[in-house]
Subunit: 315 residues, 2 copies
């Protein structure tokens, strides 16, 4: 327990990764309603949309309209996701998003080919292009990401050395532009992580690159989400992606799609119990989880919203 961080930073991804997975069309106004509600809970960063081709992800076709409708709020960064220069240009054009350059590799070549039609080499080249585009645009390159870092539905277990090696590649791509990655995200894209896997991969990356802050993107496909977050916290991880209500998933993961992302309010409950500050009002967040359920029109998997936050006992 000695490595527990005193403060955890949560990036809320429900509006982007959560809605992306939903089958029914969600009206733009309701997306904005959820984002505005989230921004009142104390969450410091919200990923609101992705700028991808509407044919690939129809739920994100209204990305610009969503961003235009969001009420700015002091202390809240609104961020977006993009996979190419065209997407980056769309994000920049909104004029309302917090922009950071991110270099993203994927640890499973099979998944990469299926999902983005790129080999490892293609992807590295494309990330170099992205790095050059960030530099040109004056956007600092501060973030790295390894997708499928804990396992892959097509390749099975991912060798830890491959993840560590890709982290090295990510740092090198930034250095070529005289930029420096400070936060590295390890993504359990297909829901394979376990507490053992978290310790193994986070441990190996930290041993090789002790100066990097780490972030975890977790799914709850096999019920391990909160246990994985707990293992990450115990390794000192202080940044997590999460989705309110447990929204989300990865629709590109084959017939065993990754189920919901780790649930924001369940993660906040865990942090509060461990004495870790998140800056988030848990009871307000639970109300937003109810709103998210209303918007998607079906129950969401998070537990604290129905089990109760026990806030009066923690006061």
């Amino acid at each position: 327990m000695s490595d527990l961080p005193s403060r955890v930073h949560i990036t809320e991804e429900g509006p982007r990764e959560g809605f992306q997975f939903e089958k029914g069309e969600i009206p733009t106004a309701r997306k904005i309603e959820l984002i505005d509600a989230l921004s009142t809970t104390g969450i410091g960063q919200i990923q609101v949309v992705s700028f991808v081709h509407p044919k690939a992800v129809p739920q994100m076709a209204d990305a610009e309209a969503v961003v235009a409708g969001i009420a700015p709020r002091e202390g809240v960064e609104f961020i977006g996701l993009w996979l190419n220069v065209r997407g980056l240009e769309r994000a920049m054009a909104t004029g309302k998003l917090h922009l950071e350059g991110s270099i993203a590799l994927t640890a499973s070549e099979t998944f990469l080919v299926r999902n983005q039609k790129r080999t490892f080499a293609d992807n590295l080249a494309q990330q170099r292009e992205m790095a050059a585009a960030y530099k040109t645009a004056g956007i600092p390159i501060t973030r790295g990401s390894v997708m499928a870092a804990f396992g892959c539905n097509f390749e099975g277990r991912i060798p830890v050395e491959r993840v560590v090696s890709q982290v090295g590649d990510i740092l090198a791509v930034a250095e070529e532009q005289e930029e420096r990655i400070t936060l590295l995200n390890l993504s359990d894209t297909m829901g394979w992580a376990t507490p053992r896997g978290i310790r193994e991969v986070v441990g190996a990356v930290r041993e090789r690159y002790p100066e990097l802050e780490m972030s975890l993107h977790l799914h709850d496909t096999r019920g391990m989400g909160i246990a994985n977050a707990c293992a990450g916290l115990e390794m000192g991880v202080a940044h997590f992606d999460a989705c309110v209500g447990g929204l989300g998933g990865c629709p590109f993961a084959g017939n065993r799609a990754a189920a919901g992302n780790v649930c924001t309010e369940d993660l906040v409950f865990l942090c509060r119990d461990l004495g870790i500050e998140t800056g988030i009002d848990l009871d307000a967040l639970i109300e937003v989880a109810a709103l998210a359920e209303d918007i998607v029109g079906h129950p969401l998997p998070g537990s604290v919203k129905s089990g109760g936050a026990l806030t009066s006992w923690y006061a």
Copy 2:
């Protein structure tokens, strides 16, 4: 991780605690069908019924008929639950159950009064009566249990010293009969446990009574179930109660009823990943989880049954 057990013993409680919570009546034959299916998976112990008054728990009114219908299977112990001498006599009369004497105290007096209309003093006296009845019947007194050990919907946090003190009382009641408790169950009756709470309570009991083996009875009310089990495993706990599919709950816990018990197949998945033997065939167990869903007629909360067990990757 150094205290991880090499082997974990799971007591399946779906047929008793799981069905007890269900609103619709479940036909006796279907209860037997589930128990028979469970007994083929490698689970070593199944709690099949409780012998309580049918007015209190109508779902258990057919307890004798259920036990009569179960197919005996080598290597599987069928156990029952009772709260008084009348219940014990009913269990003994079946002639088919594995009988062990258990001394059970409850760490919240408010819950005890509401649930069983007994004060701490009443309960201790009644447990002494039970101990005498076990002795008379020639049933060894080997198990202890502290209910509500991690928190209470009516009293809030339970002082750790109270739990340790009740463990002392439990051991003393057995010693008065010249019997010895070897396995102590800590029950998170109302779903309050967190990884921190597990470490705190298990740690305090182990420090005071290092010779006792410990068992955990966990609920997933706030999404902490598997993380709590993981914390227990890391403390060396080698006995767990669990319910297939995540069946179950505690209907006596007030308006915030404890949600499903920790899910057996999710727990087996975790153990397998940690290299811990359970003796259970995970794929067979997942089929039984589907049967359990069919029997109760609604989806159950367990995750591995839908996320997939990844067995071929673990081979």
